[in-house]
Structure formats: structure tokens, C-alpha cells
């Protein structure tokens, strides 16, 4: 790290182009938040309060909160349990189980809901919504917890056991506290996804803030009433983020200094092997088997050709949008990542927080804000792909940032320094030395954004120019009229597109511990 910091000090003498671009990007990210607050309160706080304190909002709040509580708890229980089985027991074929438990990420949640509803139409309400979202989101907990369990130093566990603590006691007192950051991070992701979820809940007829905002928009084009609901949703998002920060606390079980990490012993399952395998098999069948079976079933039953002109049109629109969004988002994330990498100041801290919070906001909030901006102030942008791509960039910028920052952290700083001392301008040095060094990070960031864009539904429904159909909206139009056969090819395409992302995530998390 020392080498990079010497490079930085010279690179940021005063407010350079990097800082300016980073501030601009952060400004754009924070725009939705400001617009929503301004629109919600434009008729006065009294009117806004009236719109907040009405029975419907109470009902939506009850639904949203209970769904978040039920699903997050279920995801944590299943995710941690499965991670422990896979990483710390003598479960046969652990590698394959790991893959099978992460693979549901390749099935977008609304495709999973479509699969279940098409086979069991009576699946509705909180029960159905909690079931589908738990099946779809458990990998968010499983993935980080499994990665952490795999890398744990087992010395504390050995000490605990040698001091007389039982297997369960050791798990509760030693292992759980250590995986807490990963567990909370996963739970946070689940909760944020639930607040943003539209497709699953619309299909299962379980109204939450997100579905109600879209209803209001569809019905009345009314961005004020929608903005009031969106404000409540933003408050919920902020609460979830703060809650996670508090719960995380200060865990200090890290190993200090060098020394040999002790590879953990795998626990023999004994007579529990049977139930464990049955349990995991059931889970994989429900979370992966059902959607794949349903999509296959409807592909066969639909009788429509898979590669219809409509599907190809949607595919090309989707790819076009996703390419543009991928490039734009990566370019926008670059200066922010560079600035954050160089030095920690009040400015960089605030920029980091702002982009993080803005990107945690549900897609519907960001989209609603951009619609408002376009309709009221910059009319020509309304109904343009440009606006949609901006929404994607705001929503997905953290995905690009993570990759770029990881790459920056690994890039040796001395090389850039050498280029500068040999007379290269900062820009030339960046272009010739830094960019090639972090190119894989940029590419991986681009890929993350590209793939996320391909299956984005909520913001696309609001912002796609009339006549533009993406894979997600084409799928939605068909499954909304319960044309399951017509929807199936779109579902298949989205699964195929998402598969590489899943693989990327899995190999990233297995790599971390090597």
C-alpha cells in the first residue's frame, strides 16, 4: 500500500479532473433522492403528511416489513446452514453442492415467480412471496458465508473444543461471530432486493411500496403520489442500511501477524448425512429444478418458435442498452474508484457514502425521479434510451466500482510513478500504465453491469421508450397476460444471459480464500 500512496500524493495536487468527474458522478447519483424529496413535498408538508398517514400506506408498510423480516430470516437460516454443511462437514460432493446452491442466481427472481405461478396459480400473498423470494435470494447469504467459512482459521475452534465446549457451543460462540460480517452483508443484500422487488410481488399479488408506486404511475402518471410512497421507501432503505451498520459492530477476531493458518477439520456427518443430503436436494429442486422444469415445460407446450422475430428484436434492444450502460457505468465508476483509492478525505468519504446510498435505492425510485426530471424540466430527454441508460448507471455503479477498486488495490503503484518521473503527463501515464494494469478489473466491472442490465425489469418498465421491448419487459408483457408459452423463450434467454454472472461470482468467491 505504501507504494500507491506515494503515487497518489503527486497525482492529486489540488482539485484535478479526477476529483471533478467524481463529484459530477456523485451528483448525478444523488439526483434521484433530491428529486423525489422535492416532488413529494412540493404541495407542502401538510399534504405530504396526509398522503403518508393513510390506511393504504399502513397496509403497504405492514406487507413490506413483514416480507423483509420473514424472507431475510429464512435466507439467513438456510444460507448459513447450507454453507456450514458444504464447507465444514464431510458432505459428499461438496463442490457440486456449492455450485448447485449458487446456481439459482442465474434465474432472475421474477422468472422463478413465473415458473411457480404457472404451475401453482393459487400461490399468492405473503406465504407465496416469502417462499419465492427466499428460494431466489438465499445465495446472497450462502455465497459470502461459505467463502468466509472456507477461509476461517480453525485454531479458535480447536481451543474452544479442547476447553470443553460442544460442537453446537463452538458453532454459536466461535464460528457465528466470525461469519457475522458476511452473514450481515448477505442479509443486507436480501433486504435491499426485497425493498426493490417488483416482478415477483406483482405476480404473486402481494402489494408493497414498489408495486404500489408502479400502480400509481400506470394509473395516473402521477409522480407526486408516487414520490410520497417512494420517500417512505427511501426511509426504509436508510433504516435497513443503518441497521446493518449497527449490527455489524466491531468484530475483532482477525488474525494478526503471519503464521500458518490451520485448515479446518471437516465434521463427520454420521447418521445426519442422509437428512442433510435430502434437505439440500429438496432445496435445489425447489430453487433450481422448478424454474428450469417450468421454463422447459412451457417452451415445449407453447408451440411458438423459440427464436421469434419479436424475441430477436428484444434481444438486440437489450444487448444494445446493456452494452451502452456497461460502458457508461464503467467510465463513470473509474474516476470515483480512483479518487477513493488515492486518499481518504471528507470529500471522498462523502462521495463513497452518497453513491452507495443512491445505488441502494430501489430501481423504481430512481426511475420515478428520472421520469419526473424529464417530464418537468428536460422534455426532450423523455422517452429516450439515454434516460434509461442513466438509470442503469445509477443503479449499477457499485458493481463496476467493486471490480475497479479491487484491480486498483492490486496494481503496483511504482510503475505509474516511474512513468511520471520519465516525463509522462498524468493523463499519459494513466493511459499507458494504469489502464492496462487494471483492464481486467474494468472488463469485469463492465460485465457485471452488462449482465445486471439484461434482466432489469422495474426501471425499464418505467423508462423504456414506447416501442422498445427488452427481454425483461417482453417477458413481463407475456407473463402478465398469463401467456406462459410466449414468455418462456424470454425466460430462457435471461437465464442464459445470467449464467456467466453466476459463474463469475462463484469463482470470485472461491478465489478469495486461496
Amino acid at each position: 500500500m505504501t507504494s500507491t500512496s506515494t503515487l497518489s500524493r503527486r497525482g492529486t495536487g489540488g482539485i484535478g479532473p479526477v476529483a471533478i468527474s467524481a463529484v459530477v458522478v456523485a451528483g448525478i447519483c444523488v439526483l434521484p433522492l433530491l428529486v423525489i424529496l422535492a416532488t413529494a413535498t412540493e404541495s407542502g408538508l401538510g399534504v405530504a403528511a396526509q398522503q403518508v398517514f393513510r390506511p393504504r400506506v399502513g397496509e403497504l408498510l405492514g406487507n413490506t416489513v413483514s416480507l423483509v423480516l420473514v424472507t431475510t430470516t429464512a435466507c439467513v437460516v438456510v444460507g448459513v446452514g447450507a454453507a456450514w454443511l458444504v464447507e465444514r462437514t464431510e458432505l459428499p460432493a461438496a463442490r457440486w453442492w456449492r455450485l448447485a446452491l449458487v446456481a439459482p442466481l442465474a434465474v432472475p427472481a421474477f422468472v422463478n415467480a413465473y415458473a411457480w405461478v404457472s404451475l401453482r396459480p393459487s400461490l399468492t400473498g405473503l406465504g407465496g412471496a416469502a417462499l419465492i423470494t427466499t428460494l431466489s435470494y438465499t445465495p446472497f447469504v450462502f455465497l459470502p458465508v461459505a467463502a468466509l467459512l472456507r477461509g476461517l482459521d480453525s485454531r479458535w475452534e480447536d481451543s474452544a473444543r479442547s476447553l470443553g465446549l460442544g460442537a453446537w457451543g463452538t458453532f454459536a460462540k466461535i464460528v457465528l461471530p466470525q461469519v457475522r460480517p458476511a452473514l450481515l452483508g448477505g442479509a443486507l443484500l436480501v433486504a435491499l432486493h426485497l425493498l426493490a422487488e417488483f416482478g415477483v410481488l406483482a405476480m404473486l399479488r402481494f402489494p408493497t411500496f414498489t408495486t404500489a408506486i408502479l400502480d400509481q404511475y400506470e394509473a395516473a402518471f402521477d409522480t407526486t403520489a408516487g414520490s410520497v410512497l417512494a420517500t417512505v421507501l427511501m426511509v426504509l432503505t436508510a433504516l435497513v442500511l443503518t441497521g446493518e451498520r449497527f449490527a455489524r459492530g466491531r468484530v475483532s477476531l482477525a488474525r494478526i501477524g503471519s503464521g500458518v493458518r490451520v485448515q479446518p477439520q471437516r465434521v463427520p456427518l454420521g447418521r445426519w448425512a442422509g437428512p442433510a443430503i435430502v434437505g439440500l436436494t429438496t432445496w435445489v429442486l425447489l430453487s433450481l429444478g422448478v424454474p428450469l422444469y417450468a421454463v422447459g415445460h412451457w417452451l415445449g407446450a407453447g408451440g411458438t418458435p423459440i427464436l421469434s422475430p419479436a424475441l430477436l428484436g428484444a434481444l438486440s434492444s437489450t444487448v444494445g442498452l446493456a452494452l451502452t450502460a456497461g460502458v457508461l457505468t464503467t467510465v463513470a465508476a473509474f474516476p470515483v474508484a480512483l479518487l477513493l483509492h488515492r486518499r481518504r478525505t471528507l470529500l471522498t468519504e462523502s462521495i463513497e457514502r452518497i453513491t452507495y446510498f443512491a445505488s441502494s435505492l430501489p430501481g423504481v425510485v430512481v426511475a420515478l425521479a428520472l421520469v419526473t426530471v424529464a417530464i418537468r424540466w428536460i422534455g426532450p430527454l423523455y422517452q429516450t434510451p439515454f434516460l434509461l441508460v442513466i438509470a442503469y448507471a445509477i443503479l449499477f455503479i457499485p458493481r463496476a466500482m467493486v471490480s475497479i477498486r479491487a484491480a486498483l488495490a492490486q496494481a503496483p503503484g511504482g510503475l505509474l510513478e516511474a512513468a511520471r518521473s520519465l516525463g509522462d503527463s498524468p493523463w499519459r501515464a494513466t493511459r499507458r500504465v494504469l489502464l492496462p494494469l487494471i483492464a481486467p478489473g474494468l472488463l469485469s466491472g463492465f460485465a457485471m453491469v452488462f449482465l445486471a442490465t439484461c434482466v432489469e425489469l422495474t426501471a425499464t418498465l418505467l423508462l423504456a421508450p414506447t416501442g422498445t421491448t427488452t427481454l425483461a419487459t417482453g417477458f413481463w408483457a407475456a407473463s402478465d397476460s398469463l401467456d406462459y408459452g410466449v414468455a418462456a423463450p424470454y425466460a430462457l434467454m435471461m437465464i442464459l444471459v445470467s449464467a456467466p454472472l453466476t459463474w463469475l461470482l462463484l469463482s470470485n468467491s472461491t478465489k478469495d480464500t486461496r
Binding site: P385, P440, S444
Partner: protein
């Protein structure tokens, strides 16, 4: 980032580029062609296709269609104002057209076109014209409820007796048009009471088709929807309606409300003559027959054109007489929001 990820990433990017190269445009839809007549349509795509094909074959005028939904498209036209690229607007229900008319964005429709349509299917203002019609119906599942037990009026569905017994899709423009009929016929107070009953009693579905299929599956005994979804399904596979029947309230009940699909010409259009020609063609005998043969199962509104023989004649439905121009969409949304439905 480890180097071994690079191949995967490059593969994804290459695949993406290849897929992109096969499409015509990188940003989705090709931009509108200013030389063609542009139609913003919220009507069902197969019906509009039939009209466009017939019109172009007869007149040689090239047409392009932008597909959308009633409410958002109507409001989009208001947002676009005089900068719109639309020449013609077609809706599923008239309230969306009224929004555009109230913003002063429509040109009057030629008298000869208006004359092709029966008086009750065009507004008194003459600023737009009816192009099709759809009737409110009560769909029911005879194995769950017998015809004799059905409510006498749609307003009765607010009675506690029907709690959980009926379904509807109140977030859609179709149902909101029905509510606007209730508002027009019964006034704000009674509409409010009825909506409160709906909130208590109705199972909420995402659209008419979902309502129909729920009744068909016996999830709920009855549903309020438009007639043509049922007739279309009956004409095809009956997959979503085999176990159901339709009940018409008749007797000028609000539940016999007939919603008018509207066509209008935008004032901002630079192709006024062609746009008027399009409406004239759609409402002509030929255009209305194209509607019938498209099997959209919506009612024809052209004078002297018979609708699909499977449908009970439009004038036998005893619909309440309501000037479609007086339907107040925004007020309906307010009432529905106040009732906690939206």
C-alpha cells in the same frame, strides 16, 4: 482481479458484441421515420395491425405504430405537447383520450367521419371518434355460484355479503373506465362508498385475463371484466374460460357500462389530411369489418356494421347512456387512491 477471469470476461463481451451486431440499432428501437404517418396506439396490437394493413393497401399511405398503454400514453402526449411526433392517437378506453383533449391537443374530427359512427359512440364535442366498444360483464363459475344467486346490480358487489366472492383488476385502465362510468352515473359519494366496498370485498388481480383465469380455476366465484377477453379465449383454446359463463347486468345498470375506444388526430401533426383519412378509414364499413375479422372480439361501432356473430348485439346490452366525453379519469384515480385501492 486474477488473470484467469479475463477469458470469461472477454468471452462475455465478445458474445455481447456479436449479438449486438445482429441487431439493427444499438439503442433499441429505430427512431421514428418522419415520412410515415405515426400512430400512438394503446389498442391491442393485432387489431391495430389489421387496420394499418388494410389502410395502407387501400391508400398507399405508409404507417408506423408506437405501442403503449392508455394512461401513460395519454399523459405522454400531454408531456410532449406540440413537439409530439404522433399524428393519430388510438386508445382502449376514452378517458385517456379525454386527458389529451382537455390539454387542447386534438384537431376536430371531420364531420363525414363522425357521421359513420352511431351517435352514442362519439363525444358531443366531436374532437375524437369511437373506433370500437367493449362491454362490462360479470364472469362467474357455475360450479361456485348459480346464475340465480348473482347480484342484481354491479353496485351490490360492495355489499358485505360478497366479501372475497369476486375479483377485479383495479390497477388497469379498463377497470378505471368502468369506475368512471359509475362516477358519471351515480355521483362522487356513492362511487366512494362503492369503492370502499370493493376494497373490502374484491380479490385484486393484475389484469382482466388473470381475473378470468382465476374464476375459471375456481379461486374466486365471480369477476368484473370486459367481454372480449372471454370471447377471444372461447374462440381459441377455452383454456382460461371453459368453466365460466358471462352475465350481463343490462337494465341500464352501471355494470352494463360500455366503454368506447377512441381515435383522435393531434393538432401538432403535420399530416392532418392523412391522419383524418386514417380515422375515416377505420370508422368506415371496411375498417369496422377489418375489426370484426381480426377476431379481436371487440364491438364494431360503425353504422350498419354487424359485430362478430358470437357476441350478443351491442344494442341488446341496455347500457346506461353516458356521454363518453364526460368521463373524468383523474377524479377516478383520486377516489381510488382515497379508497386505498391504488
Amino acid at each position: 482481479m486474477k488473470r484467469r477471469h479475463l477469458p470469461a470476461v472477454v468471452a462475455v463481451a465478445a458474445l455481447a458484441l456479436a449479438a449486438c451486431g445482429s441487431g439493427d440499432s444499438a439503442t433499441g428501437e429505430a427512431p421514428l421515420d418522419p415520412s410515415k404517418l405515426t400512430i400512438y396506439s394503446a389498442q391491442h396490437a393485432n387489431l391495430v395491425d389489421a387496420w394499418v394493413k388494410g389502410f395502407t393497401a387501400d391508400t398507399g399511405i405508409q404507417v408506423q405504430v408506437r405501442q403503449g398503454k392508455d394512461s401513460s400514453m395519454g399523459n405522454q402526449l400531454v408531456a410532449e405537447g406540440d413537439k409530439t411526433q404522433a399524428d393519430v392517437f388510438l386508445t382502449e378506453n376514452s378517458p385517456a383520450m379525454t386527458v389529451v383533449q382537455n390539454a387542447g391537443l386534438l384537431s376536430p374530427v371531420e364531420q363525414s367521419t363522425l357521421d359513420q359512427v352511431s351517435q352514442q359512440y362519439r363525444p358531443s364535442s366531436g374532437e375524437w371518434v369511437g373506433i370500437a366498444a367493449r362491454s362490462t360483464v360479470l364472469i362467474y363459475n357455475p360450479s361456485k355460484i348459480s346464475e340465480a344467486d348473482l347480484p342484481a346490480s354491479m353496485l351490490d358487489l360492495a355489499d358485505p355479503k360478497w366479501k372475497g366472492k369476486w375479483g377485479a383488476a383495479p390497477s388497469g385502465a379498463d377497470f378505471q373506465a368502468i369506475v368512471s362510468g359509475v362516477l358519471q352515473a351515480e355521483g362522487a359519494d356513492r362511487t366512494e362508498t362503492w369503492l370502499k366496498g370493493l376494497k373490502e370485498n374484491a380479490k385484486v388481480y393484475q389484469n382482466n385475463i388473470a381475473t378470468m383465469k382465476a374464476v375459471n380455476a375456481g379461486e374466486v366465484p365471480m369477476g368484473i371484466m370486459y367481454h372480449y377477453y372471454w370471447y377471444r379465449d372461447q374462440a381459441l383454446t377455452k383454456e382460461g374460460s371453459a368453466n365460466t359463463k358471462l352475465h350481463y347486468f343490462k337494465g341500464e345498470d352501471v355494470g352494463a357500462f360500455v366503454s368506447v375506444s377512441a381515435g383522435g388526430v393531434l393538432k401538432a401533426s403535420t399530416k392532418q389530411a392523412d391522419a383524418q383519412k386514417f380515422l375515416a378509414w377505420v370508422t368506415s364499413a371496411k375498417g369496422q369489418e377489418a375489426l370484426v375479422s381480426s377476431k379481436s372480439m371487440e364491438y364494431a361501432v360503425g353504422d350498419g356494421v354487424a359485430s362478430d356473430p358470437a357476441l350478443p348485439p351491442l344494442d341488446s346490452l341496455q347500457a346506461p347512456s353516458i356521454d363518453p366525453f364526460t368521463l373524468d379519469g383523474p377524479e377516478v384515480i383520486k377516489l381510488m387512491t382515497a379508497a386505498g385501492i391504488l
